[in-house]
């Protein structure tokens, strides 16, 4: 298989997955807030278009800001085109009415949600997704993340549709298509990593087995969709209702055995005097625009309170889990004080910087040089080792190299010297040699760290390890 072909399939898989959940989401929004007057298929074209357009733009030798501007200009044009075609097909092209409809929909967002706004937001999100995909490094991790995220969005969309009593129509083919793309993409990405059984000796057998499994899953899905029809569901609901009715009748029978209490006589209600609004009250009547603002503020306040409550509840649950896990033999719980707060603050900071446009001209379209996950894992494990050893009273001196520090640690835990050797060796390789570890080496490293940490737990009393 050629590399270009494989990458192409991975891109198609991601486009397929994202297309499925985008379709579900857009169909729901179209029926709920867009008045079902838009063609979702027509809007979905924007997503692959954005991907292809941005892929082509990457080949241009222009400043990044210029590419960014051209990309979003193209989005604006395609969005206006969709507005014209889907909502104002009968108006002439030069008529300003359809051009002004988009800004008008934004201005009236407090009072009503117009279909133009849905097109604006929907195509904006799709364009951003397509642009993001064109810069994305497509690998196994990316495919799995896309699958998890897409599945979550699909579930949320279906749940919302059932609660709002919105008929999404082709939900079964949508789910099947989603899983088809996900299974196809993930298996090929896994094979491309070079560690899969797909690259081994029996790749023919396994590929056949994979295809059979995918076919079986699809067949099973079709079978379930054929059996579980609305009629079948209505029958099940009717059976449930009959059962509930039976229970209610039984309760009524039991209740009839007891005498009913005599109703008490209530005094007649006093009529309320009619009052006219005073002049002062009329003067202090709050205008509608202020009330809208206050209403938004009120919603934001509520939202904030809900977030704080969720945070608090989550913290309590984690605290309870921590206490439970601490009591289990052979298990450990490492606290990361302030990690959540730091993450939230970092997230807010990034949003603020983005909104203020501070980072935009500099990092436009640039891929962030994130540390590779293999290297990050090794460094994280070594950091944990340093933290534990420091807490045990064996901090590393600033002038100590990892190997010099290893000697000190070996005195602390001579029985774990093999594991400490391995952790130090792999850390040195990745930190100073920029060498990547294989899956097996990473597994061994994690195993060694587990051995060392368990060893430390056993010696907690002796060495006063961190609680």
């Amino acid at each position: 298989m050629k590399l270009g072909w494989q990458k192409g399939v991975l891109y198609v898989a991601i486009i397929g997955m994202e297309g499925c959940w985008l379709y579900a989401l857009m169909a729901l929004l179209n029926k709920e807030v867009g008045g079902a007057c838009l063609s979702v298929h027509g809007m979905l074209i924007v997503y692959p278009l954005a991907f292809v357009f941005n892929m082509l733009l990457q080949h241009l030798r222009c400043p990044k800001a210029c590419i960014w501007g051209v990309s979003w200009l193209a989005w604006a044009l395609s969005m206006l085109l969709i507005v014209k075609v889907q909502l104002f097909g009968d108006l002439p092209l030069l008529d300003s009415a359809w051009l002004l409809s988009v800004p008008r929909s934004i201005a009236e967002v407090i009072y009503t949600f117009r279909p133009e706004l849905l097109i604006l937001l929907g195509t904006g999100v799709m364009w951003w997704l397509g642009r993001r995909l064109s810069y994305l490094k497509v690998d196994f991790g990316a495919l799995v993340s896309e699958f998890q995220f897409g599945l979550l969005i699909l579930l949320i969309a279906f749940f919302a549709a059932s609660q709002l009593r919105v008929e999404l129509g082709s939900s079964v083919p949508m789910v099947l298509t989603f899983f088809l793309f996900a299974l196809l993409g993930i298996s090929i990405a896994h094979a491309l990593e070079g560690t899969s059984w797909l690259s081994g000796l029996y790749q023919g057998h396994w590929s056949g087995l994979l295809l059979i499994t995918i076919s079986l899953v699809l067949l099973l899905g079709l079978l379930i969709s054929a059996v579980v029809t609305p009629g079948f569901l209505q029958l099940a609901v009717a059976a449930l209702k009959w059962f509930v009715g039976l229970i209610l009748k039984l309760i009524a029978l039991i209740a009839s055995l007891f005498p009913e209490p005599e109703p008490a006589e209530l005094p007649p209600a006093t009529p309320m005097p009619e009052m006219e609004p005073s002049e002062v009250f009329k003067m202090w009547t709050v205008p509608e625009s202020v009330r809208s603002g206050l209403r938004i503020g009120f919603y934001v306040l509520w939202l904030g309170l809900i977030v704080v409550a969720l945070w608090r509840i989550s913290s309590d649950i984690f605290g309870w889990l921590r206490r439970k896990l601490a009591g289990m033999a052979g298990a450990e719980f490492e606290s990361l004080p302030g990690a959540f707060r730091a993450d939230v603050l970092g997230w807010l900071k990034r949003i603020c910087l983005r909104l203020l446009g501070l980072r935009l001209p500099i990092h436009l379209g640039a891929r962030t040089r994130a540390m590779l996950p293999e290297i990050a894992s090794v460094r994280q494990i070594y950091r944990q080792l340093l933290r534990w050893a420091t807490a045990a009273g064996w901090p590393r001196h600033i002038s100590q190299t990892p190997y010099e520090y290893l000697h000190a640690l070996a005195q602390l835990m001579p029985e774990a010297q093999g594991d400490l050797d391995l952790i130090t060796e792999q850390y040195v390789r990745t930190r100073y040699g920029a060498l990547l570890l294989t899956e097996d080496e990473l597994y061994q490293l994690r195993q060694s760290w587990r051995n060392v940490s368990q060893n430390k737990l056993r010696k907690r009393g002796k060495y006063k390890w961190i609680k």
Binding site: R379, Y382, R383, L386, I398, Q400, Y432, G433
Partner: protein, 323 residues
């Protein structure tokens, strides 16, 4: 790519092991010193061996030269040695009726400059151009020296009568200064045993050819040096310039030498990347001879090597920060 680099580092390690084991047939129990000489050899530097008489300085230089299969010349420095005795002369060939260049002993791959501090400053200075630019200029004619080119100089730090201390410019041109030190009791017994029948130096054969050495020298430059390691080497060099006991700190040539030497050491030890231990290990041999300590430090009995070790123990090693 990784595989290729790994093979290259294994090739260098294999060559280094061959050379070390060959030299160890003559020099007993001094593996670290031999390794340092090899470091200088691989990064085209020069070595100053400083120790008391009878330790095996000249023997080490000869053993290295024999193991390399390169041309070898020896210059015995005395106060009446002239620059032309080292570099060569232009003489008038009466038969051909023209001036011809007769090369001196410096025209060799390995040159042993024995007891260098016995030569006058004038003669010592003629080595400056050879060591840095690998060429000699005689009567307006510049001649390139053969490659590889390594000067192994020896000097006796004890017997100073009738000697001329090497100037700083000269010392700075030596990549490393090493000492052999007295052998242990067992090693000394082994030396007597080996030299009982014959001199093992006579049977020493070459294990690396000049072409192979040149290739290895090129490969050593490809050893990966992570940016934080580079900063660590620079930090050590800079710390010598601000230390209270140091009058003259390390030059940029010193930090460059430390950088190159660390690459060679990493390759010799079978790695294709430099680690902080390499820098630490090489700090004293690379820097100590280039620094000048203040008189107060001398009076307190502190050696420059001790001061460099102290500096190294205060500079932060680039390791993961605990967050």
């Amino acid at each position: 790519m990784d595989k290729v680099v790994k093979e290259v580092s294994q090739e260098i390690k294999g060559a280094a092991d061959r050379l070390t084991s060959n030299v160890s047939k003559v020099i007993v129990g001094k593996k670290e010193t031999v390794e340092l000489v090899l470091v200088a050899l691989l990064c085209e530097g020069h070595v100053l061996i400083e120790d008391v008489p009878g330790i095996g300085k000249t023997m080490l230089a000869k053993a290295v030269a024999r193991s390399l299969g390169c041309s070898f010349k020896r210059i015995q420095c005395t106060p009446d040695l002239l620059p032309s005795d080292v570099t060569g002369i232009q003489y008038f060939n009466q038969k051909a009726s023209e001036f011809e260049f007769r090369p001196g002993p410096i025209m060799a791959n390995i040159v042993l400059v024995d007891e260098i501090n016995r030569a006058t400053p004038r003669t010592q200075s003629c080595l400056l151009e050879c060591m840095q630019e690998q060429q000699v200029t005689v009567d307006l004619e510049t001649v390139s020296l053969p490659r590889p080119f390594l000067i192994i100089a020896t000097q006796n730090p004890v017997e100073l009568e009738g000697t001329f201390p090497l100037p700083e410019a000269q010392l700075d041109r030596f990549l490393l200064r090493v000492g052999l030190g007295y052998p242990t009791e067992d090693d000394e017994g082994e030396i007597l045993s080996r030299f009982q029948q014959e001199n093992p130096l006579d049977n020493l054969t070459s294990v690396i050819e000049a072409e192979e050495l040149l290739e290895i020298q090129k490969l050593c430059r490809q050893v990966y040096v992570e940016s934080s390691i580079r900063s660590y080497a620079v930090a050590i060099a800079r710390a010598t310039r601000s230390h209270k006991d140091i009058r003259l700190g390390a030059s940029p040539r010193a930090s460059l030498g430390l950088h190159l030497a660390s690459q060679a050491l990493a390759a010799i030890r079978g790695r294709n990347y430099v680690i902080p231990d390499d820098i630490k290990y090489l700090a004293v041999p690379t820097l100590a001879h280039r620094l000048i300590a203040k008189t107060e430090a001398h009076l307190r009995g502190r050696s420059v090597g001790e001061i460099v070790s102290e500096i190294v123990s205060t500079v932060s090693v680039p390791v993961e920060e605990q967050r």
